[in-house]
C-alpha cells in the first residue's frame, strides 16, 4: 500500500516562490485504479513526479508498504505523457529498459517484455523503431515498458493527452483491459472528466494551484464498462463539473 503523508511542494526561484502543492495526504489501496483529476498546470504532474522520486517534496513523506521511499524505486514505474520512448531503441528494447538497467539476463528480460508487448497488442512490432509507430502504438510501448519493469505501482501522467479523440477512447478501453488482465495499482493523472469517470475506482479531484485534495469520489460501485451516456455517469459528471474551477490562463 502507498501512503502519501502531508506532501507539499514549493518551487523557489529568484522571481519568487511558487506553491505547487499544498498538503496532500492520500492512501492508495492495492490494485486500485486511482485517478487524479485537476485543471491544467495545477500541480498534479508535479505530485506524480514526487511519487516517482523525480522531484523532492518540500515537506511530507511517501511510504510504500510501510517504509518511506526516497528517490526512484524499482517498485514504481511510470508512463509518460510524451511517451519518453528512446528513439534509438526498438519497441522490444524500449520495453526491456527497466530489466536491462536492473541487470536481468537478456533471455529473461526478452521473455517478460514479449509477454507485455503481446498484452498491449504489439505482437509483430517488436523490431519497429518509435518513428515508425503511430501515437497510440508508441504509448502502448510506454505501457509495456512500465509493466515489464514489474512494479507494484504504475504512475500514468496524462498518457493519452496527446492522442486524438478516437485513439484516446480506444486506449481508455485498452488500459482497462490490460489492467484487468494484470492487476496493479495505477495512479492515473488526467484533466479530462469523462476519462476520469470511465477509468477510476476512485477519482480524486484537485483544486487549482496550489494543488490540494478538493473532493474524493468513490466509483467502485459503478459497473464497468461504463457507458458515457448512462444516467449515473452523467450525474457524477455533473457533480464533478460543478466542483471544477474553470480558469483561463
Amino acid at each position: 500500500m502507498l501512503e502519501v503523508d502531508h506532501i507539499a511542494k514549493t518551487f523557489f526561484s529568484d522571481k519568487g516562490d511558487t506553491d505547487a502543492i499544498e498538503n496532500i495526504s492520500i492512501d492508495v489501496k492495492e490494485n486500485e485504479f486511482l485517478v487524479l483529476l485537476g485543471p491544467g498546470q495545477c500541480g498534479k504532474s508535479t505530485f506524480l513526479n514526487i511519487i516517482a522520486g523525480l522531484v523532492k517534496p518540500t515537506s511530507g513523506t511517501i511510504k510504500l508498504d510501510g517504509k518511506p521511499i526516497t528517490g526512484t524505486d524499482p517498485r514504481i514505474a511510470m508512463v509518460f505523457q510524451k511517451t519518453g520512448l528512446y528513439e534509438w531503441k526498438t519497441a522490444m528494447q524500449n520495453a526491456e529498459l527497466g530489466l536491462k538497467y536492473r541487470k536481468v539476463s537478456k533471455a529473461e528480460r526478452r521473455e517478460i517484455a514479449q509477454k507485455y508487448l503481446d498484452l498491449v497488442g504489439l505482437h509483430g512490432f517488436e523490431n519497429a523503431y518509435p518513428h515508425a509507430l503511430s501515437g497510440g502504438m508508441k504509448q502502448r510501448v510506454g505501457i509495456a515498458r512500465a509493466y515489464t519493469a514489474n512494479p507494484e505501482i504504475l504512475l500514468m501522467d496524462e498518457p493519452f493527452g496527446a492522442l486524438d479523440a478516437q485513439t484516446r477512447y480506444a486506449m481508455e478501453e485498452e488500459i482497462l483491459r490490460i489492467w484487468n488482465a494484470e492487476k496493479r495499482t495505477i495512479i492515473f493523472v488526467t484533466n479530462n472528466i469523462e476519462e476520469a469517470i470511465t477509468l477510476g475506482d476512485r477519482v480524486i479531484q484537485f483544486t487549482e494551484r496550489p494543488a490540494t485534495v478538493k473532493k474524493i469520489y468513490d466509483l467502485s460501485s459503478l459497473a464497468r464498462p461504463r457507458s458515457q451516456v448512462s444516467p449515473e455517469f452523467l450525474r457524477i459528471r455533473q457533480e464533478i463539473a460543478s466542483n471544477e474551477e474553470l480558469t483561463l490562463e
Binding site: N49, A52, G53, L54, T72, P74, I76, A77, M78, F80, K82, G84, Y86, E87, W88, K89, T90, L97, G98, K100, Y101, R102, G121, F125, A128, Y129, P130, H131, A132, L133, S134, G136, M137, R145, A149
Partner: protein, 266 residues
Amino acid sequence: MKLKTNPLLEDRSIVYKFFYYVGPILLIVAFLLGWNAVSASGNVMLPSPAEALKRMITIWSGNVAKHPMTYHVGISMRRVLTALIFSVVVGVPFGIAMGWNKTFRAIFKPLFEVIRPVPPIAWVPLFTLWFGTSEFSRVAIITMGVFMPIVINSYSGVIMVPEINFQVGKVFGAKSTDMLFDVVLPSSLNAIFAGIRTALGGGWMVLLASEMLGAREGIGFLIMQGNSANDLTLSIVGMVMIGFFGMLFAYAFDYLERWLCPWKRK
C-alpha cells in the same frame, strides 16, 4: 495497426518520383551548361568544362608536378583523414565529457573558448617555427580546423539531451554509466555527426593553407601551382578533385551514420 512509410515517396505521382531521382542529375547538367556558356562568352578567363576534362584525363594518365594524380589525391586525403580521425578519437570524448561533467566543463570550457575563435591558419607561423614545414605541421594545422567543430557539437549534443530522457532513465533504474552510454551518447549522435560533417568541410579549406607550407604534392599544392604558373585549368582540375572527393567523403559519412543509427532509416 500498421507501420509508417517514407512520406517523401508515399502516394506520389510518377512525375514526382521521376524528379526525385533525376532532378539532382539535371541540376548538375544545368551547372555544366552554365559553366560552358560563361566560358564560351569570352567575357571572363575561364576554361570550358571540356578543356578541364581533357586536362584531367592527361593528368590522370601521366604525371603532374613529378607525381601521378593518385599520389596527390592520396596524400591530401591522408592529411585530412589523419587530422579527422585524431579529432574524432580525442574530440568526441572531450566534448562529451565537457557536456556531461560539470567540473570538467568548469575547468576546460574557458580555455577552449579562448582557443576556438582563433582561425586555424593563424597557427601557421607558430607551427612552422616549432615543427618546420613538415608533414606534422600540415596535419597539425588541419587538426586545429577540424577539432573545434567536433568538440563543440559533441558538447552541445550532450547538453541538449531532452530532460525526459533522463527522467525515463531514472525511473527505470539507469545507473550513471547506463545514462552516459545508453542515453546520452545515442541522444547526441545526431549532433556529433553534424559536427564531423562541418569539420570535414573545414578540413578541405585548411588543407589548402597547409599545403602552401612548402608542400611539393597534394591537391591544394596543385591549385596553388596552377596559380603561380598561370595555369588556370590545373587549378580548376584541383577544385573539381576537392569537390568530387569531398562529396565522396560526405556520402561515405551518410552511410556510416545510417549504419550506426539504424533507427533513422526511413
